[in-house]
Protein backbone atom coordinates (compact mmCIF):
# COMPACT_ATOMS: atom_id res chain seq x y z
CA UNK A 1 0.00 0.00 0.00
CA UNK A 2 2.81 2.36 0.88
CA UNK A 3 4.44 1.69 -2.46
CA UNK A 4 1.22 2.41 -4.21
CA UNK A 5 0.81 5.71 -2.40
CA UNK A 6 4.40 6.66 -2.99
CA UNK A 7 4.15 5.98 -6.70
CA UNK A 8 0.92 7.96 -6.83
CA UNK A 9 2.70 10.89 -5.20
CA UNK A 10 5.70 10.54 -7.54
CA UNK A 11 3.38 10.43 -10.52
CA UNK A 12 1.73 13.58 -9.24
CA UNK A 13 5.08 15.35 -8.93
CA UNK A 14 6.13 14.16 -12.38
CA UNK A 15 2.99 15.43 -13.97
CA UNK A 16 3.25 18.73 -12.13
CA UNK A 17 6.68 19.26 -13.74
CA UNK A 18 5.42 18.16 -17.12
CA UNK A 19 2.49 20.51 -17.07
CA UNK A 20 4.68 23.49 -16.22
CA UNK A 21 6.92 22.66 -19.17
CA UNK A 22 3.91 22.34 -21.35
CA UNK A 23 2.65 25.78 -20.49
CA UNK A 24 6.01 27.42 -21.11
CA UNK A 25 6.23 25.92 -24.57
CA UNK A 26 2.86 26.58 -26.03
CA UNK A 27 1.84 29.56 -23.96
CA UNK A 28 -1.73 28.35 -24.24
CA UNK A 29 -2.88 27.64 -20.76
CA UNK A 30 -5.34 24.84 -20.34
CA UNK A 31 -7.79 25.48 -17.57
CA UNK A 32 -6.92 23.17 -14.76
CA UNK A 33 -10.09 21.43 -13.77
CA UNK A 34 -8.07 19.00 -11.67
CA UNK A 35 -10.00 15.97 -12.76
CA UNK A 36 -7.54 13.55 -14.31
CA UNK A 37 -3.97 13.41 -13.12
CA UNK A 38 -1.61 14.23 -15.94
CA UNK A 39 0.11 11.06 -16.90
CA UNK A 40 3.76 11.04 -17.89
CA UNK A 41 2.96 9.42 -21.22
CA UNK A 42 0.51 12.08 -22.16
CA UNK A 43 2.83 14.93 -21.28
CA UNK A 44 5.61 13.54 -23.47
CA UNK A 45 3.15 13.30 -26.33
CA UNK A 46 2.40 16.97 -25.94
CA UNK A 47 6.10 17.77 -25.99
CA UNK A 48 6.59 15.81 -29.18
CA UNK A 49 4.14 18.02 -30.97
CA UNK A 50 6.31 20.91 -29.77
CA UNK A 51 5.41 24.37 -30.96
CA UNK A 52 2.99 22.93 -33.49
CA UNK A 53 -0.21 23.64 -31.63
CA UNK A 54 -2.09 20.89 -29.89
CA UNK A 55 -5.59 21.07 -31.40
CA UNK A 56 -7.09 20.83 -27.93
CA UNK A 57 -5.27 23.92 -26.73
CA UNK A 58 -4.83 25.94 -29.92
CA UNK A 59 -6.96 29.02 -29.32
CA UNK A 60 -7.80 29.09 -33.05
CA UNK A 61 -9.23 25.59 -32.88
CA UNK A 62 -12.81 25.08 -31.79
CA UNK A 63 -11.55 22.17 -29.65
CA UNK A 64 -9.99 24.73 -27.29
CA UNK A 65 -13.52 25.79 -26.40
CA UNK A 66 -14.56 23.59 -23.53
CA UNK A 67 -17.47 25.20 -21.72
CA UNK A 68 -21.22 25.06 -22.25
CA UNK A 69 -23.24 27.61 -20.27
CA UNK A 70 -26.78 27.04 -19.03
CA UNK A 71 -29.78 29.10 -17.99
CA UNK A 72 -31.02 29.07 -14.40
CA UNK A 73 -32.43 25.65 -13.37
CA UNK A 74 -31.82 24.43 -16.92
CA UNK A 75 -29.87 21.51 -18.32
CA UNK A 76 -30.79 21.98 -21.98
CA UNK A 77 -27.86 22.76 -24.27
CA UNK A 78 -28.35 25.86 -26.38
CA UNK A 79 -27.88 25.61 -30.15
CA UNK A 80 -24.84 27.89 -30.10
CA UNK A 81 -22.81 25.13 -28.38
CA UNK A 82 -23.65 22.39 -30.85
CA UNK A 83 -20.71 23.01 -33.25
CA UNK A 84 -18.30 22.87 -30.33
CA UNK A 85 -19.80 19.64 -28.98
CA UNK A 86 -19.78 18.19 -32.50
CA UNK A 87 -16.06 19.00 -32.79
CA UNK A 88 -15.27 17.25 -29.51
CA UNK A 89 -17.33 14.27 -30.61
CA UNK A 90 -15.31 14.07 -33.84
CA UNK A 91 -12.05 14.37 -31.93
CA UNK A 92 -13.01 11.52 -29.60
CA UNK A 93 -14.08 9.34 -32.51
CA UNK A 94 -10.75 9.99 -34.29
CA UNK A 95 -8.70 9.47 -31.15
CA UNK A 96 -10.04 6.29 -29.67
CA UNK A 97 -7.56 6.44 -26.79
CA UNK A 98 -8.70 9.89 -25.74
CA UNK A 99 -11.11 10.13 -22.84
CA UNK A 100 -13.24 13.11 -21.88
CA UNK A 101 -14.53 14.01 -18.44
CA UNK A 102 -17.76 15.95 -18.67
CA UNK A 103 -18.01 18.09 -15.56
CA UNK A 104 -21.27 19.75 -14.53
CA UNK A 105 -21.42 22.86 -12.32
CA UNK A 106 -24.10 25.10 -10.82
CA UNK A 107 -24.34 28.55 -9.35
CA UNK A 108 -24.23 28.94 -5.58
CA UNK A 109 -27.91 29.47 -4.95
CA UNK A 110 -30.31 26.87 -3.64
CA UNK A 111 -29.74 23.38 -2.34
CA UNK A 112 -26.20 22.00 -2.49
CA UNK A 113 -27.52 18.49 -3.01
CA UNK A 114 -29.98 19.49 -5.70
CA UNK A 115 -27.12 21.33 -7.38
CA UNK A 116 -25.06 18.13 -7.42
CA UNK A 117 -27.96 16.43 -9.19
CA UNK A 118 -28.50 19.37 -11.56
CA UNK A 119 -24.78 19.58 -12.41
CA UNK A 120 -24.86 15.85 -13.13
CA UNK A 121 -27.78 16.34 -15.49
CA UNK A 122 -25.91 19.14 -17.28
CA UNK A 123 -22.93 16.84 -17.76
CA UNK A 124 -25.29 14.06 -18.88
CA UNK A 125 -26.85 16.41 -21.47
CA UNK A 126 -23.42 16.68 -23.12
CA UNK A 127 -22.75 12.97 -22.83
CA UNK A 128 -26.03 12.05 -24.46
CA UNK A 129 -25.45 14.45 -27.35
CA UNK A 130 -21.99 13.09 -27.96
CA UNK A 131 -23.25 9.54 -27.65
CA UNK A 132 -25.82 10.22 -30.37
CA UNK A 133 -22.95 11.64 -32.44
CA UNK A 134 -21.28 8.25 -32.19
CA UNK A 135 -18.80 8.64 -29.34
CA UNK A 136 -18.17 5.42 -27.43
CA UNK A 137 -19.50 5.45 -23.86
CA UNK A 138 -16.13 4.20 -22.65
CA UNK A 139 -14.53 7.48 -23.81
CA UNK A 140 -16.78 9.67 -21.67
CA UNK A 141 -17.29 10.01 -17.94
CA UNK A 142 -19.65 12.47 -16.28
CA UNK A 143 -19.20 14.03 -12.86
CA UNK A 144 -20.91 16.86 -11.02
CA UNK A 145 -19.24 19.35 -8.73
CA UNK A 146 -22.58 20.94 -7.90
CA UNK A 147 -21.93 24.46 -6.60
CA UNK A 148 -18.73 23.39 -4.82
CA UNK A 149 -16.13 24.38 -7.44
CA UNK A 150 -17.16 27.83 -8.67
CA UNK A 151 -15.10 29.24 -11.55
CA UNK A 152 -16.18 32.73 -10.58
CA UNK A 153 -16.22 33.53 -6.87
CA UNK A 154 -18.57 36.49 -7.29
CA UNK A 155 -22.11 36.71 -5.97
CA UNK A 156 -23.97 38.38 -8.84
CA UNK A 157 -25.68 37.28 -12.03
CA UNK A 158 -22.45 37.63 -14.03
CA UNK A 159 -20.66 35.23 -11.69
CA UNK A 160 -23.62 32.87 -11.50
CA UNK A 161 -23.84 32.72 -15.32
CA UNK A 162 -20.15 31.70 -15.41
CA UNK A 163 -20.80 28.93 -12.92
CA UNK A 164 -23.87 27.37 -14.57
CA UNK A 165 -21.63 25.35 -16.81
CA UNK A 166 -20.46 22.02 -18.10
CA UNK A 167 -16.82 21.56 -19.13
CA UNK A 168 -15.14 19.09 -21.43
CA UNK A 169 -11.82 18.07 -19.85
CA UNK A 170 -9.59 15.46 -21.45
CA UNK A 171 -7.81 12.82 -19.45
CA UNK A 172 -4.27 14.00 -18.82
CA UNK A 173 -5.18 17.65 -18.71
Amino acid sequence: MNKLLLSAILLGLLSACASTGDKDQSGAAVEDKSMGQKSGADASGAQKSGVAANPLTDPNNILSKRSVYFDLDSFSVKDEYKPMIEAHAQYLKQNSKAKAFLQGNCDERGSREYNIALGQKRAESLRKMMSVMGVSDSQMETVSFGEEKPKSEGHDEAAWAQNRRADVVYQGE
Binding site: R112, Y114, I116, Q120
Partner: protein
Protein backbone atom coordinates in the same frame (compact mmCIF):
# COMPACT_ATOMS: atom_id res chain seq x y z
CA UNK B 1 -10.32 -1.22 -0.02
CA UNK B 2 -11.15 -0.57 3.61
CA UNK B 3 -7.48 -0.25 4.38
CA UNK B 4 -7.04 2.35 1.70
CA UNK B 5 -9.72 4.54 3.24
CA UNK B 6 -8.16 4.21 6.65
CA UNK B 7 -4.86 5.35 5.19
CA UNK B 8 -6.48 8.36 3.59
CA UNK B 9 -8.15 9.20 6.86
CA UNK B 10 -4.78 9.12 8.56
CA UNK B 11 -3.27 11.37 5.93
CA UNK B 12 -6.13 13.82 6.26
CA UNK B 13 -5.70 13.80 10.01
CA UNK B 14 -1.97 14.34 9.93
CA UNK B 15 -2.17 17.03 7.32
CA UNK B 16 -4.90 19.06 8.90
CA UNK B 17 -4.94 18.29 12.62
CA UNK B 18 -6.01 21.38 14.56
CA UNK B 19 -6.99 22.65 17.98
CA UNK B 20 -10.41 21.38 18.83
CA UNK B 21 -12.30 24.43 19.92
CA UNK B 22 -13.84 27.16 17.87
CA UNK B 23 -17.04 27.90 19.71
CA UNK B 24 -20.14 28.93 17.89
CA UNK B 25 -21.55 32.19 19.18
CA UNK B 26 -25.31 32.28 19.52
CA UNK B 27 -27.34 35.44 19.30
CA UNK B 28 -31.09 35.58 19.88
CA UNK B 29 -32.85 37.79 17.38
CA UNK B 30 -36.47 37.33 18.38
CA UNK B 31 -38.68 35.88 21.10
CA UNK B 32 -42.06 34.29 21.65
CA UNK B 33 -45.00 36.52 22.46
CA UNK B 34 -45.76 35.03 25.85
CA UNK B 35 -42.51 34.32 27.62
CA UNK B 36 -42.56 32.49 30.92
CA UNK B 37 -41.08 34.76 33.65
CA UNK B 38 -38.55 32.62 35.49
CA UNK B 39 -36.10 33.53 38.26
CA UNK B 40 -32.95 31.41 38.71
CA UNK B 41 -31.18 31.90 42.03
CA UNK B 42 -27.43 31.17 41.87
CA UNK B 43 -26.96 27.77 43.55
CA UNK B 44 -25.49 27.63 47.04
CA UNK B 45 -21.66 27.31 46.94
CA UNK B 46 -21.78 27.63 43.16
CA UNK B 47 -19.23 30.45 43.13
CA UNK B 48 -16.53 27.92 44.08
CA UNK B 49 -17.02 26.14 40.73
CA UNK B 50 -14.96 26.89 37.60
CA UNK B 51 -18.18 27.74 35.81
CA UNK B 52 -21.62 28.73 37.02
CA UNK B 53 -24.28 26.06 36.50
CA UNK B 54 -27.11 28.54 36.79
CA UNK B 55 -25.56 30.82 34.16
CA UNK B 56 -25.58 27.91 31.68
CA UNK B 57 -29.15 26.93 32.64
CA UNK B 58 -30.25 30.55 32.24
CA UNK B 59 -28.63 31.02 28.85
CA UNK B 60 -30.08 27.71 27.59
CA UNK B 61 -33.60 28.72 28.58
CA UNK B 62 -33.26 32.30 27.34
CA UNK B 63 -31.95 31.03 23.99
CA UNK B 64 -35.16 29.04 23.47
CA UNK B 65 -37.00 32.37 23.34
CA UNK B 66 -39.76 30.93 25.56
CA UNK B 67 -38.52 32.34 28.87
CA UNK B 68 -37.92 35.77 30.35
CA UNK B 69 -35.27 35.62 33.03
CA UNK B 70 -36.21 37.66 36.11
CA UNK B 71 -33.14 39.18 37.79
CA UNK B 72 -32.85 37.63 41.27
CA UNK B 73 -30.70 40.52 42.57
CA UNK B 74 -31.98 42.22 45.70
CA UNK B 75 -34.12 39.32 46.89
CA UNK B 76 -33.08 36.99 49.64
CA UNK B 77 -31.40 34.02 47.91
CA UNK B 78 -32.98 30.72 48.99
CA UNK B 79 -31.35 27.34 48.39
CA UNK B 80 -34.01 25.18 50.08
CA UNK B 81 -37.81 25.28 49.66
CA UNK B 82 -38.30 26.26 53.29
CA UNK B 83 -36.29 29.45 52.70
CA UNK B 84 -38.34 30.68 49.75
CA UNK B 85 -40.25 33.92 50.44
CA UNK B 86 -42.84 33.58 47.68
CA UNK B 87 -44.24 37.07 48.10
CA UNK B 88 -40.83 38.56 47.14
CA UNK B 89 -40.74 36.55 43.88
CA UNK B 90 -44.36 37.37 43.10
CA UNK B 91 -43.49 41.03 43.52
CA UNK B 92 -40.63 40.58 41.03
CA UNK B 93 -43.06 39.09 38.54
CA UNK B 94 -41.57 35.59 38.53
CA UNK B 95 -44.01 32.73 38.02
CA UNK B 96 -41.40 30.07 38.59
CA UNK B 97 -38.22 29.85 40.59
CA UNK B 98 -35.13 27.67 40.31
CA UNK B 99 -33.08 27.04 43.46
CA UNK B 100 -30.34 24.61 44.36
CA UNK B 101 -26.95 23.97 45.81
CA UNK B 102 -23.62 22.37 45.07
CA UNK B 103 -21.48 20.52 47.56
CA UNK B 104 -18.10 18.88 47.18
CA UNK B 105 -17.74 15.24 48.17
CA UNK B 106 -14.64 13.72 49.76
CA UNK B 107 -13.99 11.69 46.56
CA UNK B 108 -13.66 14.85 44.47
CA UNK B 109 -17.09 14.55 42.93
CA UNK B 110 -19.84 17.10 43.30
CA UNK B 111 -23.43 16.81 44.49
CA UNK B 112 -25.71 19.14 42.54
CA UNK B 113 -29.27 19.53 43.75
CA UNK B 114 -31.93 21.68 42.21
CA UNK B 115 -35.63 22.34 42.57
CA UNK B 116 -38.13 24.06 40.32
CA UNK B 117 -40.74 25.91 42.39
CA UNK B 118 -44.13 27.20 41.26
CA UNK B 119 -44.28 30.70 42.77
CA UNK B 120 -48.03 31.09 42.25
CA UNK B 121 -48.99 27.72 43.76
CA UNK B 122 -46.10 27.83 46.23
CA UNK B 123 -45.21 24.23 45.49
CA UNK B 124 -42.40 22.17 44.02
CA UNK B 125 -42.71 21.21 40.33
CA UNK B 126 -39.52 19.17 40.07
CA UNK B 127 -36.44 18.30 42.09
CA UNK B 128 -33.38 16.30 41.15
CA UNK B 129 -29.92 15.64 42.47
CA UNK B 130 -26.86 14.58 40.50
CA UNK B 131 -23.49 13.23 41.57
CA UNK B 132 -21.02 14.34 38.94
CA UNK B 133 -17.36 14.91 38.17
CA UNK B 134 -16.32 18.54 37.68
CA UNK B 135 -16.00 17.76 33.92
CA UNK B 136 -19.74 17.09 33.81
CA UNK B 137 -20.78 20.57 34.97
CA UNK B 138 -21.88 21.77 31.55
CA UNK B 139 -23.77 18.61 30.63
CA UNK B 140 -25.48 18.63 34.04
CA UNK B 141 -26.54 22.24 33.56
CA UNK B 142 -28.05 21.25 30.18
CA UNK B 143 -29.93 18.38 31.86
CA UNK B 144 -31.34 20.78 34.46
CA UNK B 145 -32.40 23.15 31.68
CA UNK B 146 -34.07 20.20 29.90
CA UNK B 147 -36.06 19.33 33.06
CA UNK B 148 -37.20 22.94 33.55
CA UNK B 149 -38.09 23.34 29.86
CA UNK B 150 -40.15 20.15 29.83
CA UNK B 151 -41.97 20.95 33.09
CA UNK B 152 -42.89 24.48 32.02
CA UNK B 153 -43.59 24.04 28.29
CA UNK B 154 -44.72 20.42 28.07
CA UNK B 155 -42.16 19.68 25.35
CA UNK B 156 -38.93 17.73 25.60
CA UNK B 157 -35.86 19.92 26.01
CA UNK B 158 -33.01 19.68 23.49
CA UNK B 159 -30.27 21.47 25.45
CA UNK B 160 -28.30 18.20 25.83
CA UNK B 161 -28.20 17.52 22.10
CA UNK B 162 -25.43 18.23 19.60
CA UNK B 163 -25.26 19.74 16.15
CA UNK B 164 -23.01 18.88 13.22
CA UNK B 165 -22.04 21.46 10.60
CA UNK B 166 -19.33 22.33 8.11
CA UNK B 167 -16.93 25.27 8.44
CA UNK B 168 -15.19 26.57 5.33
CA UNK B 169 -12.15 28.67 6.05
CA UNK B 170 -10.31 29.66 2.90
CA UNK B 171 -9.79 26.38 1.07
CA UNK B 172 -10.07 24.29 4.19
CA UNK B 173 -13.25 22.43 5.08
CA UNK B 174 -13.98 21.05 8.53
CA UNK B 175 -16.85 18.86 9.62
CA UNK B 176 -17.48 19.79 13.24
CA UNK B 177 -19.73 18.62 16.05
CA UNK B 178 -20.65 20.97 18.91
CA UNK B 179 -23.10 21.07 21.80
CA UNK B 180 -26.44 22.66 20.94
CA UNK B 181 -25.29 25.86 22.69
CA UNK B 182 -22.22 26.05 20.43
CA UNK B 183 -19.67 24.93 23.05
CA UNK B 184 -17.18 22.10 22.79
CA UNK B 185 -16.78 22.18 19.01
CA UNK B 186 -14.72 19.25 17.76
CA UNK B 187 -13.38 18.68 14.29
CA UNK B 188 -14.53 15.31 12.97
CA UNK B 189 -12.91 15.64 9.55
CA UNK B 190 -10.69 18.25 7.91
CA UNK B 191 -10.10 18.33 4.18
CA UNK B 192 -8.98 20.57 1.35
CA UNK B 193 -12.01 19.39 -0.61
CA UNK B 194 -15.69 20.21 0.03
CA UNK B 195 -17.64 18.38 2.74
CA UNK B 196 -21.43 18.53 2.85
CA UNK B 197 -24.72 16.95 3.89
CA UNK B 198 -23.86 15.51 7.32
CA UNK B 199 -26.69 13.44 8.84
CA UNK B 200 -26.79 11.78 12.24
CA UNK B 201 -27.53 8.12 12.71
CA UNK B 202 -30.63 7.80 14.94
CA UNK B 203 -28.52 6.64 17.91
CA UNK B 204 -26.11 9.57 17.52
CA UNK B 205 -23.07 7.32 17.19
CA UNK B 206 -22.32 7.90 13.50
CA UNK B 207 -22.42 10.63 10.90
CA UNK B 208 -22.98 10.02 7.21
CA UNK B 209 -21.77 12.86 4.96
CA UNK B 210 -20.52 13.68 1.48
CA UNK B 211 -16.83 14.36 0.86
CA UNK B 212 -15.15 15.44 -2.39
CA UNK B 213 -11.75 14.06 -1.34
CA UNK B 214 -11.80 11.64 -4.31
CA UNK B 215 -12.58 14.58 -6.65
CA UNK B 216 -16.23 13.63 -6.81
CA UNK B 217 -19.07 13.38 -4.27
CA UNK B 218 -18.77 10.20 -2.19
CA UNK B 219 -20.84 9.26 0.88
CA UNK B 220 -18.85 8.28 3.96
CA UNK B 221 -20.07 6.88 7.27
CA UNK B 222 -17.93 7.81 10.25
CA UNK B 223 -18.10 6.46 13.77
CA UNK B 224 -17.92 9.38 16.20
CA UNK B 225 -16.47 7.34 19.03
CA UNK B 226 -13.71 5.44 17.20
CA UNK B 227 -13.22 8.00 14.41
CA UNK B 228 -13.19 5.13 11.89
CA UNK B 229 -14.74 5.91 8.54
CA UNK B 230 -15.48 4.19 5.27
CA UNK B 231 -17.10 4.95 1.95
CA UNK B 232 -20.66 3.64 2.15
CA UNK B 233 -20.69 2.22 -1.37
CA UNK B 234 -18.05 1.91 -4.04
CA UNK B 235 -19.73 2.27 -7.41
CA UNK B 236 -19.25 4.10 -10.69
CA UNK B 237 -20.21 7.76 -10.57
CA UNK B 238 -20.89 9.76 -7.44
CA UNK B 239 -22.87 9.22 -4.24
CA UNK B 240 -24.55 11.95 -2.22
CA UNK B 241 -27.59 13.02 -0.17
CA UNK B 242 -27.46 10.32 2.55
CA UNK B 243 -30.50 9.80 4.82
CA UNK B 244 -30.77 7.28 7.66
CA UNK B 245 -33.77 5.04 8.18
CA UNK B 246 -35.24 5.57 11.69
CA UNK B 247 -33.93 2.17 12.85
CA UNK B 248 -30.40 3.10 11.73
CA UNK B 249 -30.09 -0.04 9.60
CA UNK B 250 -30.39 1.48 6.14
CA UNK B 251 -29.61 4.63 4.26
CA UNK B 252 -31.24 6.16 1.24
CA UNK B 253 -28.70 7.81 -1.06
CA UNK B 254 -28.50 9.42 -4.48
CA UNK B 255 -26.20 7.70 -6.99
CA UNK B 256 -25.28 8.70 -10.54
CA UNK B 257 -24.04 5.31 -11.68
CA UNK B 258 -26.78 5.08 -14.29
CA UNK B 259 -26.37 8.66 -15.49
CA UNK B 260 -28.67 11.06 -13.68
CA UNK B 261 -29.06 11.30 -9.92
CA UNK B 262 -31.31 8.45 -8.74
CA UNK B 263 -32.27 7.13 -5.33
CA UNK B 264 -31.01 3.87 -3.88
CA UNK B 265 -31.36 1.98 -0.60
CA UNK B 266 -28.37 0.40 1.05
CA UNK B 267 -27.66 -1.24 4.39
CA UNK B 268 -25.61 0.85 6.80
CA UNK B 269 -22.65 -1.50 6.25
CA UNK B 270 -22.79 -0.89 2.49
CA UNK B 271 -24.41 -4.22 1.59
CA UNK B 272 -27.61 -4.91 -0.34
CA UNK B 273 -27.55 -1.85 -2.60
CA UNK B 274 -30.88 -1.55 -4.42
CA UNK B 275 -32.27 1.02 -6.79
CA UNK B 276 -35.31 2.70 -5.28
CA UNK B 277 -36.43 5.25 -7.85
CA UNK B 278 -36.35 4.46 -11.54
CA UNK B 279 -36.71 7.12 -14.20
CA UNK B 280 -34.61 9.39 -16.35
CA UNK B 281 -34.86 12.58 -14.34
CA UNK B 282 -33.40 14.06 -11.15
CA UNK B 283 -34.31 12.38 -7.88
CA UNK B 284 -32.33 13.41 -4.80
CA UNK B 285 -32.48 14.57 -1.15
CA UNK B 286 -34.35 11.59 0.34
CA UNK B 287 -35.64 11.81 3.92
CA UNK B 288 -37.36 9.04 5.92
CA UNK B 289 -40.53 9.67 7.90
CA UNK B 290 -40.07 9.05 11.65
CA UNK B 291 -42.13 5.83 11.36
CA UNK B 292 -39.97 4.69 8.43
CA UNK B 293 -42.97 4.23 6.13
CA UNK B 294 -42.47 7.19 3.80
CA UNK B 295 -39.70 8.98 1.98
CA UNK B 296 -39.77 12.60 0.95
CA UNK B 297 -37.46 13.57 -1.89
CA UNK B 298 -36.78 16.30 -4.42
CA UNK B 299 -37.43 15.57 -8.08
CA UNK B 300 -37.70 17.48 -11.34
CA UNK B 301 -40.04 14.87 -12.84
CA UNK B 302 -42.76 17.49 -13.26
CA UNK B 303 -40.45 19.92 -15.07
CA UNK B 304 -39.30 21.87 -12.00
CA UNK B 305 -37.69 21.01 -8.66
CA UNK B 306 -40.52 19.89 -6.36
CA UNK B 307 -40.99 17.72 -3.29
CA UNK B 308 -42.61 14.30 -3.58
CA UNK B 309 -43.63 11.57 -1.18
CA UNK B 310 -43.39 7.86 -1.87
CA UNK B 311 -43.83 4.73 0.31
CA UNK B 312 -40.44 3.51 1.54
CA UNK B 313 -41.25 0.08 0.10
CA UNK B 314 -41.82 1.70 -3.30
CA UNK B 315 -45.01 2.65 -5.09
CA UNK B 316 -46.59 5.72 -6.59
CA UNK B 317 -45.01 9.10 -5.93
CA UNK B 318 -47.25 11.95 -4.86
CA UNK B 319 -46.27 15.55 -5.53
CA UNK B 320 -46.57 17.69 -2.37
CA UNK B 321 -45.39 21.18 -3.32
CA UNK B 322 -47.01 23.42 -5.91
CA UNK B 323 -46.07 27.02 -5.00
CA UNK B 324 -43.40 28.30 -7.36
CA UNK B 325 -40.78 26.50 -9.43
CA UNK B 326 -38.27 25.51 -6.77
CA UNK B 327 -39.07 23.62 -3.58
CA UNK B 328 -36.18 21.51 -2.27
CA UNK B 329 -34.42 19.92 0.74
CA UNK B 330 -37.42 18.32 2.51
CA UNK B 331 -37.08 17.11 6.11
CA UNK B 332 -39.87 15.49 8.13
CA UNK B 333 -40.74 17.03 11.48
CA UNK B 334 -40.08 14.61 14.37
CA UNK B 335 -43.84 13.95 14.75
CA UNK B 336 -44.09 13.17 11.03
CA UNK B 337 -47.01 15.60 10.57
CA UNK B 338 -45.20 18.26 8.58
CA UNK B 339 -41.97 18.89 6.75
CA UNK B 340 -39.48 21.74 6.53
CA UNK B 341 -38.04 22.68 3.14
CA UNK B 342 -36.52 25.51 1.11
CA UNK B 343 -38.83 27.51 -1.11
CA UNK B 344 -37.69 29.97 -3.76
CA UNK B 345 -39.83 33.06 -4.09
CA UNK B 346 -38.81 35.83 -6.48
CA UNK B 347 -35.21 34.62 -6.55
CA UNK B 348 -34.99 34.39 -2.75
CA UNK B 349 -34.66 31.17 -0.79
CA UNK B 350 -36.58 30.83 2.48
CA UNK B 351 -37.22 28.14 5.08
CA UNK B 352 -40.85 27.00 4.98
CA UNK B 353 -42.95 24.34 6.69
CA UNK B 354 -45.80 22.46 5.07
CA UNK B 355 -48.48 20.59 6.97
CA UNK B 356 -48.95 17.14 5.43
CA UNK B 357 -52.67 16.91 6.30
CA UNK B 358 -53.77 20.35 5.13
CA UNK B 359 -50.96 21.17 2.63
CA UNK B 360 -50.79 24.60 4.27
CA UNK B 361 -47.39 26.29 3.85
CA UNK B 362 -45.86 28.71 6.32
CA UNK B 363 -42.73 30.60 5.28
CA UNK B 364 -40.63 31.08 8.42
CA UNK B 365 -37.71 33.26 7.37
CA UNK B 366 -37.11 36.47 5.45
CA UNK B 367 -33.40 36.04 4.73
CA UNK B 368 -32.69 35.55 1.00
CA UNK B 369 -30.21 32.66 0.84
CA UNK B 370 -31.43 29.99 3.24
CA UNK B 371 -30.39 26.35 2.83
CA UNK B 372 -30.35 22.97 4.60
CA UNK B 373 -33.16 23.08 7.20
CA UNK B 374 -32.90 20.52 10.02
CA UNK B 375 -35.42 20.02 12.84
CA UNK B 376 -34.45 19.91 16.50
CA UNK B 377 -35.48 16.49 17.83
CA UNK B 378 -38.40 18.05 19.77
CA UNK B 379 -39.69 19.67 16.58
CA UNK B 380 -39.73 23.14 18.15
CA UNK B 381 -36.79 24.70 16.29
CA UNK B 382 -35.35 24.39 12.80
CA UNK B 383 -31.66 25.07 12.27
CA UNK B 384 -30.57 26.16 8.78
CA UNK B 385 -27.76 27.83 6.88
CA UNK B 386 -28.00 31.42 5.67
CA UNK B 387 -25.77 34.35 4.77
CA UNK B 388 -25.20 37.59 6.65
CA UNK B 389 -22.94 40.16 4.98
CA UNK B 390 -21.65 37.56 2.54
CA UNK B 391 -20.66 35.21 5.34
CA UNK B 392 -22.18 31.81 5.85
CA UNK B 393 -23.82 31.54 9.28
CA UNK B 394 -26.21 29.15 10.91
CA UNK B 395 -29.57 30.35 12.15
CA UNK B 396 -32.44 28.72 13.95
CA UNK B 397 -36.11 29.58 13.84
CA UNK B 398 -38.94 28.19 15.94
CA UNK B 399 -41.37 26.07 13.95
CA UNK B 400 -43.98 28.81 14.45
CA UNK B 401 -41.54 31.41 13.06
CA UNK B 402 -41.54 33.60 16.20
CA UNK B 403 -38.18 32.86 17.81
CA UNK B 404 -34.97 33.39 15.87
CA UNK B 405 -31.33 32.71 16.71
CA UNK B 406 -28.12 33.22 14.81
CA UNK B 407 -25.02 31.07 15.29
CA UNK B 408 -21.64 32.07 13.90
CA UNK B 409 -17.98 31.18 14.26
CA UNK B 410 -15.17 33.70 14.59
CA UNK B 411 -13.78 33.10 11.12
CA UNK B 412 -15.00 31.34 8.03
CA UNK B 413 -18.34 30.26 6.65
CA UNK B 414 -20.59 27.88 8.55
CA UNK B 415 -23.08 25.76 6.64
CA UNK B 416 -24.81 22.38 6.32
CA UNK B 417 -26.20 22.09 9.86
CA UNK B 418 -27.71 18.86 11.14
CA UNK B 419 -29.33 18.71 14.55
CA UNK B 420 -28.46 15.51 16.40
CA UNK B 421 -30.91 13.14 18.08
CA UNK B 422 -32.09 13.02 21.68
CA UNK B 423 -30.00 10.43 23.44
CA UNK B 424 -31.86 8.13 25.77
CA UNK B 425 -29.04 7.69 28.28
CA UNK B 426 -28.95 11.42 29.03
Amino acid sequence: MKKLYQKWWLILLLAFATPLHAALTIEITGGAGNQIPLAIVPFGAENALPQSITAIVGSDLARSGLFRLVDPAGAQAPHEPADVRYADWMAKGAEDLVIGSVSARPDGKLDVRFRLMDVVKQSQLAGFSYTITPAQLRSTAHKIADVIYEKLTGDVGVFSTQIAYVVKNGKRFELQVADADGYGAQTILASQEPILSPVWSPDGSRLAYVSFEQKKPIVYVQNLISGGRKALVSVKGSASAPAWSPDGRKLAIALTRDGNSQLYMVNADGSNLQRWSANSIIDTEPDFSPDGKWILFTSDRGGSAQIYRMPAVGGAAQRLTFDGSYNVSPHFSPDGKSFAFIQRQGGKFHVAVQDLATSQVQVLTDTPLDESPSFAPNGKMIIYATEINRRGVLAAVSSDGRVKQRLSVQAGDVREPAWGPLLKNQ
